[in-house]
């Protein structure tokens, strides 16, 4: 089992004929993800890689193929529109990879997503993967292996670094979710923690945060109250200067709020095992999971 995506995921790729979309659609197909449709307005009727039908609209694609998840690889200026379209067509899970969407657009998207009861993951995220079942996004499949540790992160390559450490040490993953590095995102840490806590096939959780905002602090409070599974965590940006945007639009210490110390202290108070380095994940999980880890 897993959270959000699995064998039953019927994936639609918005922007499938674009450079990024085509590249990653190929990788998702190779991984064995059930990619049932693509959408590029004006290219309806084509076949991607000779097998995936391309539609002009998401509504057409959903009606014909029964797609239940969409992944978006369209340029920043069209991305908010693509999210609206997917949600409007009734897709329950929308994953937006696109980086650089104006925050104002996202503040208009989110009330619509919530009103329709859909889940948005991202934007500016690497997507998610349930190893051995479905890869939705850009997380390299070869570094993941099926198992019982859930991972949630605001980062891309830092996630790969940690997943790689897990896999190299024989610790498999139930699902790895990249929630994105923007100030306004569809799914926060708490939503993922809640899902992992409820998932029978997840035994422990890794949370990878970074400077900026209060999502980690709220996640820590949630862990303290509601999560009974072992949790270990990392915060990137301990050496980041104040007031500077560290790559991710959301990774900025405003005034004195959103520092790594503040977040690590919240983790500590919630009993979350603190990783001082990415490599600490293995030893910490080992301590906390004890016999669970020895399969």
């Amino acid at each position: 089992m897993s959270i959000f995506v699995d064998r039953d995921t019927r994936l639609l790729v918005q922007g499938i004929t674009g450079r990024e979309g085509a590249f990653h659609a190929r990788h998702m197909l190779e991984y064995g993800t059930s990619v049932v449709a693509g959408v590029t307005p004006g290219k309806g009727g084509q076949k991607f890689e000779g097998r995936v039908p391309v539609f002009n609209t998401v509504a057409d694609a959903v009606q014909t193929t029964g797609a239940n998840c969409s992944v978006i690889y369209v340029p920043p200026m069209a991305a908010a529109g693509a999210i609206f379209e997917a949600v409007d067509a009734g897709i329950p899970l929308v994953v937006c990879i696109t980086e650089g969407i104006p925050v104002m657009h996202m503040s208009r998207v989110m009330p619509f997503v919530r009103a329709r009861g859909a889940r948005l993951i991202g934007p500016n995220c690497p997507g998610l993967i349930t190893p051995g079942e479905a890869k939705v996004g850009i997380i390299p499949g070869n570094i993941c292996t099926p198992g019982r540790v859930g991972l949630v992160s605001r980062s891309g390559t830092l996630t790969y670094e940690v997943v790689n450490q897990l896999t190299a040490n024989g610790i498999g993953q139930s699902t790895c979710v990249g929630i994105g590095g923007d100030p306004i995102i569809g799914t926060d840490f708490i939503a993922c923690l809640e899902a992992f806590q409820a998932d029978d096939d997840t035994d422990a959780i890794v949370i990878i945060g970074e400077i900026g905002g209060t999502d980690e602090q709220r996640a820590a409070a949630f862990v303290k109250e509601r999560v009974t599974k072992p949790v270990v965590g990392f915060i990137a940006g301990q050496t980041a200067p104040k007031g500077r945007r560290m790559g991710h639009a959301g990774a900025i210490i405003s005034g004195s709020s959103g520092t790594a110390e503040e977040k690590l202290s919240a983790f500590g108070q919630a009993g979350i095992g603190i990783m001082r380095r990415p490599a600490d994940v293995v030893a910490l999980l080992g301590q906390r999971m004890g016999a669970l880890i020895k399969r």
Binding site: P102, V103, F112, P140, E161, I184, R244, R245
Partner: protein, 379 residues
């Protein structure tokens, strides 16, 4: 992107926000001319992206055009927190009855624009928020409907008792909201919003920050960027599409991905070193990006050793290896380079590097420890 006060004034004025007259000057003579036109006493204000301008001597009162000339001459060219003053704003020295704070931010938690108003104005609002949070009214706005009339009035009533002032303030709230949404702001602030002895409500000082993601489709806003206020190496990096921030240490870092770049800096510190920069070469890193990255880092004389930390996912590690080889052919890199790469096309990358006598490590901790040692030896 931060705007200067005079630029923020332009946007507010276009939306109809009432303000004292005034203009921006680049030379003392221009300042004198503006002062003469305004008549009476004026205030000369340094235009730099920094708080505490007054304390630093960047805000001065001039009683006549001659004094305006003198003060502008003193302020223009001075440095405030390392930033050179190239422009001054000249505004009338006004009689003020009350000062309030009025801000609009894009709030992460509510995912909406949130108004913050306080009758304790003219001061550091963070301080007010920390010490007396009850003195601030926070009001989230649903962007689907915009700022509703009763909300604007509620904000006005939080500031004033006099109904004509409440209505004037409410109108300013609507205008500020229009500026905020119309220009993709992440912050729009009027601090202070003042009343004059005759009861007028006016914006005295303004601060606007534009969401960098808006600049792709709003080149008109991009024109307001003041490159002279940027670290020169950061301006070069921005033009090369690299996310780069200069820091104080001596270990240069080239990394793919913002999170991994931050974690790499942290690990340098963990092993007793100091990072010289944050640099994210992004996902699809062409050899060209690597060359530009190395150029920017090697211009910094304090860099004693350079670390590449590349986790190949979408990034092809052979592209990065080719970039490193091409760069070292184009120009001489005088400091040692430690390369860590793993992931996509790793074997090919190692072959490319070994072809020119370079080696690569596969473990992040090993690489960071090695580069910290090398930097320490060279320092």
């Amino acid at each position: 992107m931060n705007l200067h006060e005079y630029q923020a004034r332009t946007l507010l004025k276009a939306a109809g926000v009432p303000m004292f007259d005034g203009d921006v000057a680049s030379t003392p003579t221009e300042a004198e001319t503006i002062a003469r036109r305004l008549g009476g006493s004026v205030v000369i204000k340094a235009q730099v992206h920094s708080g505490g301008r007054g304390k630093a001597g960047g805000v001065k009162l001039a009683r006549n055009p001659a004094e305006a000339l003198d003060h502008a001459a003193e302020i223009l060219g001075m440095q405030i927190k390392g930033l050179v003053v190239h422009k001054v704003l000249v505004v009338p020295a006004a009689d003020i009855a009350t000062e309030s704070y009025l801000g609009l931010i894009m709030d992460r938690e509510t995912q909406r624009p949130v108004f913050m108003v306080s009758s304790a104005g003219g001061v550091d609002i963070e301080e007010v928020a920390a010490k007396t949070p009850d003195k601030i009214l926070r009001l989230p706005v649903d962007p689907t409907y915009g700022l509703l009339p009763h909300q604007a009035l509620t904000l006005g009533f939080a500031l004033y008792d006099d109904y004509s002032q409440v209505k004037a303030a409410a109108k300013i709230m609507e205008q500020l909201y229009a500026v905020f949404t119309g220009n993709g702001c992440s912050l729009a602030e009027i601090n202070p919003l003042v009343t004059t002895p005759t009861g007028q409500v006016l914006a005295l000082d303004a601060k606007i920050v534009i969401d960098d993601n808006e600049l792709f489709w709003r080149p008109d806003l991009g024109l307001m960027r003041d490159e002279s206020a940027e670290e020169p190496s950061e301006a070069v990096a921005r033009r090369a599409n690299l996310s780069f921030i200069k820091l104080e240490g001596n270990v240069g870092c080239v990394v793919n991905g913002a999170g991994l770049a931050m974690a790499t800096m942290d690990l340098v510190k963990y092993y007793g070193g100091e990072p010289a920069n944050f640099l994210d070469i992004g996902g699809s890193s062409s050899p060209e990006k690597v060359i530009n990255a190395l150029k920017i880092i090697t211009t910094d004389r304090s860099v004693k050793a350079i670390l590449f930390n590349i986790f190949g996912g979408i990034t092809r590690t052979d592209d990065v290896a080719n970039g490193i080889v091409a760069a070292t052919r184009q120009f001489k890199v005088k400091v040692p380079i430690v390369i860590r790469l793993t992931g996509t096309n790793e074997a090919e990358a190692i072959r490319i590097l070994e072809g020119v006598g370079m080696t690569a490590l596969s473990d992040m901790d090993d690489a960071v420890q090695r580069v910290v040692t090398l930097a320490r030896k060279a320092a």
